[in-house]
């Protein structure tokens, strides 16, 4: 048996004060968790993915939300209408193999799997604000490719004006598609110039990891200046069209959800405040910015448009 030198044995009084310290820190941690119930700030560092020395920020200097916050509060009605349940209900979604079609008014229709995509395009990291129409927002570090690059490869025909996106329709995997609460599959649309904008991203990852199903794996749209529901998840089809497509939410409630759905504090919604928002993890409301703070980048797209009619 190895003898422990007496110098390494903790003297009794120190041993007990250490115990006391641990007890006090436990009480402190406990009270922090009470506080965080109100303020929901994440005090435990372990939930931040590996790179704890590196923090993601948006261009205003606001910290990205934690991985935990982003992946446990998701609207994904194909699984369930409760935002906390989606992570668990979607965890078995089969995202490999996956087929993404680009068709319609294009010179070069494409059918790609995820490997093709990662070989064809360099993945970029972008930190974007996501503003949900329900009045909450997050800052999310995405990885993905600008949609522009993929569309350019497909070569849109000259008469193409709009792009329609479609989510996977698979009622066996997506239980809520079995009932008729919504006209599935989920559809979204953009004007071609919006789709070709530098900020419009096809995301495949988040926080440097592959997307989880609740975040729209394996590939989803991110249009940071529009309300979150425009950023359609788990895309299987991208079609270029001449006429403006009808999105799922437009079909459900055209009075509430327009085709453009640009973040706009001046256009009220019957339910949620659009002039202010709550950033997840914060206590106080923040003012909502026109085009979600991307006004300099995107305002020119709408210079001839009456935004109060085309909401």
């Amino acid at each position: 048996m190895q003898k422990i030198p007496s110098s390494e044995i903790t003297p009794e009084h120190l041993y007990y004060s250490r115990r006391d310290f641990l007890k006090k820190s436990a009480i402190f941690a406990g009270s922090l968790s009470i506080l965080s119930a109100c303020k929901s700030i994440n005090f435990s560092g372990d939930q931040q993915p590996e790179a704890s020395f590196f923090t993601y920020k948006d261009e205003f200097g606001d910290l990205a939300n934690t991985y935990e916050q982003i992946t446990n509060y998701n609207n994904y009605y194909e699984f369930f209408t409760n935002k906390e349940s989606v992570a668990d209900l979607s965890k078995n979604l089969k995202t490999d193999p996956w087929k993404l079609e680009i068709k319609g008014l294009v010179q070069n229709p494409l059918e790609l799997d995820m490997d093709d995509l990662s070989k064809l395009f360099e993945q970029e990291e972008k930190v974007f604000r996501l503003r949900c129409v329900e009045g909450w927002s997050k800052v999310i570090p995405w990885t993905g490719l600008p949609l522009k690059k993929l569309l350019s490869l497909a070569e849109p025909a000259s008469e193409a004006r709009y792009v329609r996106f479609q989510t996977l329709y698979d009622p066996e995997q997506m239980p809520a598609q079995q009932d008729n609460l919504f006209p599935w599959p989920y559809l979204e649309g953009l004007r071609l110039d919006e789709a070709m904008h530098d900020l419009t991203l096809l995301a495949t990852g988040m926080y440097g990891k592959q997307l989880l199903p609740q975040s729209g794996a394996p590939i989803r749209l991110v249009v940071p200046w529009k309300y979150g529901f425009k950023s359609i998840k788990s895309i299987v089809k991208i079609e270029l069209l001449k006429e403006q497509p009808v999105s799922l939410w437009m079909a459900v409630s055209p009075r509430e959800y327009g085709f453009y759905a640009n973040v706009n504090p001046n256009i009220p919604h019957p339910r949620w405040s659009q002039s202010t928002e709550r950033r997840i993890g914060e206590m106080e409301r923040r003012p909502t910015l026109l085009f979600n703070g991307y006004e300099t980048e995107v305002a020119h797209l709408y210079k001839d448009l009456d935004l109060s009619v085309n909401f």
Partner: protein, 225 residues
Amino acid sequence: MPKFKFNRLQWFVHIGSIIPFIILVWDAISNNLTVNPIQEITQRTGRTAIIWLVLSLACTPFNIIFGLKPFNQVRRPLGLYAAFYASLHFITFLVLDYGINLSLIAQSVIEKPYILLGTTGFLILMGLTFTSTKKSMQKLGKKWNQIHRLVYVAAVLLVLHFFMALKFINTLAITIAIILVVLLIIRIPVVRKFFSKRQPYWAASVNNFLTGRKKKIITTQKLRN
């Protein structure tokens, strides 16, 4: 000291009505209110308030249809618990959600009809709460009954508020609305008469169970014999 003796039904109602509050506090302490806790508190307290309000309104019809008199005793506490949860809901809206920013609050009341409906319904509930004491009952006399019929106005306003606050209509909302309509129909004098003449034979024994008064009745029967 006033007499303080609850029967079974009263115990059940009081304990059952505090449980949602205990769960809320527990979830707040254990950080289990989602990453958007203010919204979660708002929605939970609102849901609880509307359910308890409808439960309170169901007491009289229970008595009319089934002859379950003990339910008359829990009508007022159920209504007060509804007002309690509605207050938590309203305070959450004013303080936690809008940080008492009066111009923002005013804007949302004007801009969103469902907030106006909710506020009106809440103010009626508060008026009824403050006049719910025995003192006010004596003071107001016959007027008290008339005033407290306003609870039906509040219920209709608040159920509408609930419907309009939803992103899509869910089962709870439909259930609440159907129950409210049924309760209002039973209040129509003709319907009321129809039911009160046909009370079931088991009403007495259920009443005895609810109030725990079984023994007394046996003794009175014996006395009669």
